[in-house]
């Protein structure tokens, strides 16, 4: 509860030209956030991966084929005034948009599993616990106390490692500082990425790297100033806080949905 | 649901939506109570005994 604190807007910039598709972000996220696993995880439609790396291909024949990897965390959409696609549909207020941090939260113990938010999310960033989370005997020892394991029957998703923000804030309070420094609050995927493809920080803070890279334009729906920056499904108006960078035009066209619409020409 | 619930805000949405709902529920409640009480009174007055 920080009254009149500076309004943060935590966001991410992912450089698709640096991303190698190694999957470290996915595993870092699973390890950080007590994500469960099953014996068979090959049905990707019921496999919980808060951070998922998609493989995009340009569809051209050999040897003109090209591929690109696109890591997809929760976009923490701001929508219009915090009404992201998933937040306003939740009937039990189990998910929420924080105007203080810009994080879309999810309370697992409040969620009763109607899955409306999953229907609402165009990014498939929300996952349902179809099964009880079960760890092989003894393996529950590695579970982190900072993130509560989710029970069967509820929806979960990427939290931008909010617990790290909580811990960083506790430290700041203990040291009687007002603010958490940029490097003090970084998500697990950002920290792990061997390519340094993920940058995380406060989009509202011009000193933060994310803000410097994309320079979100507050007067134009927070689109990035950079020519090579785009947001996934920009046209839907979800106003996501995850920006992507790539020099490859085919990737940008495929992802931001400007290819069909009337504005196909200009971006 | 109720003003003392954490989620409650005194705003237009809550007043219109919950207001409408409580209004409807009140009508149903009062209606049913009326029917029940009247049925008890009628019965005590010996109405409805067949033939």
């Amino acid at each position: 509860m920080e009254m009149n604190a500076r309004q943060h807007k935590f966001g991410m910039v992912i450089d698709l030209d640096k991303c190698t598709g190694c999957g470290a972000c996915m595993v870092a996220c699973m390890a950080e956030n007590n994500v469960p696993f099953k014996v068979d995880e090959t049905n990707k439609r019921d496999s919980i991966t808060w951070m998922r790396v998609y493989k995009l291909t340009n569809g051209k024949p050999y040897p003109e084929a090209d591929a690109c990897f696109l890591p997809r965390p929760c976009m923490h959409c701001e929508g219009h005034a915090g009404h992201s696609p998933c937040v306003s549909v939740c009937p039990a207020t189990a998910t929420d948009y924080s105007s203080e941090t810009g994080v879309v939260s999810q309370i697992y113990t409040r969620c009763f599993g109607c899955r409306y938010c999953m229907a609402a999310c165009p990014y498939h960033a929300r996952y349902f616990n179809w099964w009880d989370p079960v760890w092989p005997d003894g393996m529950e020892k590695y579970l982190s106390p900072n993130v509560s394991p989710r029970m069967r029957g509820v929806v979960e998703k990427c939290s931008f490692c909010y617990h790290r923000y909580q811990l960083a804030r506790e430290k700041a309070i203990y040291e009687e500082r007002d603010e958490v420094a940029e490097e003090e609050y970084q998500t697990a995927c950002t920290q792990a990425c061997p390519a340094g493809a993920i940058v995380f920080g406060d989009l509202n803070n011009p000193d933060h790297q994310v803000a410097r890279i994309v320079q979100p334009d507050a007067h134009h729906h927070f689109t990035g100033h950079s020519k090579i920056a785009f947001r996934l499904l920009e046209q839907l108006g979800t106003n996501p806080k995850v920006y992507y960078l790539t020099e490859r035009e085919w990737v940008r066209k495929m992802c931001d949905q400007y290819n069909f619409g009337p504005q196909a020409a200009g971006h | 649901m109720f003003p003392f619930n954490f989620e409650w805000i005194w705003d237009m949405s809550h007043m219109v939506f919950m207001g409408g709902l409580w209004y409807a529920m009140t009508i149903l409640g009062i209606g049913m109570t009326y029917c029940l009480i009247k049925a008890v009174v009628d019965t005590l007055q010996g109405k409805g005994a067949h033939h």
Binding site: N4, H83, Y174 | H50
Partner: protein, 251 residues
């Protein structure tokens, strides 16, 4: 059964109804009274099982010896709170029996020597989904321990631990009153109780803003136009509830 029989039956039933009015009312009252006793007296007895602590502990005595709460319940360098002391902390003094109490003997024999952590039952243990920052409350908001924990620091022995058979939590979370009433801030520790306090704070801030319309107008209307990226957080950070957002207290 013929129609004739039916008619006869109905008439006799109706007659019985008139005669039995008192009986019916009596049974209604009986049922009512029985359920009241069941719900208000028997049910709470059944709902909680009383469990004893591994051994008794005298807060008052320890407080006298070490001087303050912080010696045992302290903040770590990273701002986290240590909570219930670990065995290692106790062993600093209690490597061997110091006093004469039976409880201390139990402690030293059963826990200190085999190096076994004491399985304390914690009255204030919250569900795993709760994130609670002692630093935010004690250091930043300068709250007293007693606001939430009551006067446990001056107690001379541990009260019995009443465990809810369904939820596994201490009765102190719901409160001793089965109806959920409370007189002190520390009587209950449910989400509503956290919310109550937080709401007062949010409300106070809102009032403060209301009192100064110029500042309020500047903050809410003018400033965002000039510095679109440098907005101040609105009072109450949740878009849904206009209060604190979920993740403030949940993990």
């Amino acid at each position: 059964m013929s129609i004739k029989d039916d008619k006869a039956h109905a008439v006799s039933d109706a007659a019985a109804g008139k005669k039995g009015g008192g009986t019916i009312l009596l049974f209604f009252i009986l049922g009512f009274a029985a359920s009241m006793v069941l719900g208000w007296v028997v049910f709470p007895q059944l709902l909680y099982s009383t469990k004893s602590q591994p051994f008794d502990f005298n807060h008052a005595l320890h407080n006298e010896e070490v001087g303050d709460c912080e010696s045992c319940h302290f903040f770590r360098q990273d701002g986290t709170f240590s909570g219930v002391p670990s065995l290692a902390q106790c062993t600093d003094c209690h490597a061997d029996v110091l006093g004469e109490s039976q409880d201390e003997a139990v402690f030293v024999q059963q826990y200190v020597h085999p190096e076994r952590e004491v399985p304390w039952r914690v009255y204030s243990r919250q569900p795993d989904c709760v994130f609670f920052s002692h630093a935010a409350h004690v250091i930043k908001a300068k709250m007293d321990c007693a606001t939430c924990h009551g006067d446990i620091g001056t107690s001379t022995s541990l009260k019995p631990y009443q465990e809810n058979r369904i939820t596994g939590y201490s009765r102190d979370i719901w409160g001793q009153s089965i109806a959920g009433f409370k007189t002190h801030t520390y009587d209950r520790m449910k989400m509503d109780d956290c919310a109550q306090c937080h709401e007062q704070a949010v409300e106070a801030a809102r009032q403060a803003e209301m009192m100064d319309p110029v500042t309020r107008h500047f903050r809410q209307e003018i400033a965002p136009m000039i510095y679109p990226l440098d907005r101040q957080a609105a009072v109450g950070s949740s878009v849904q509830t206009q209060r604190d957002a979920c993740f403030v207290c949940h993990k």
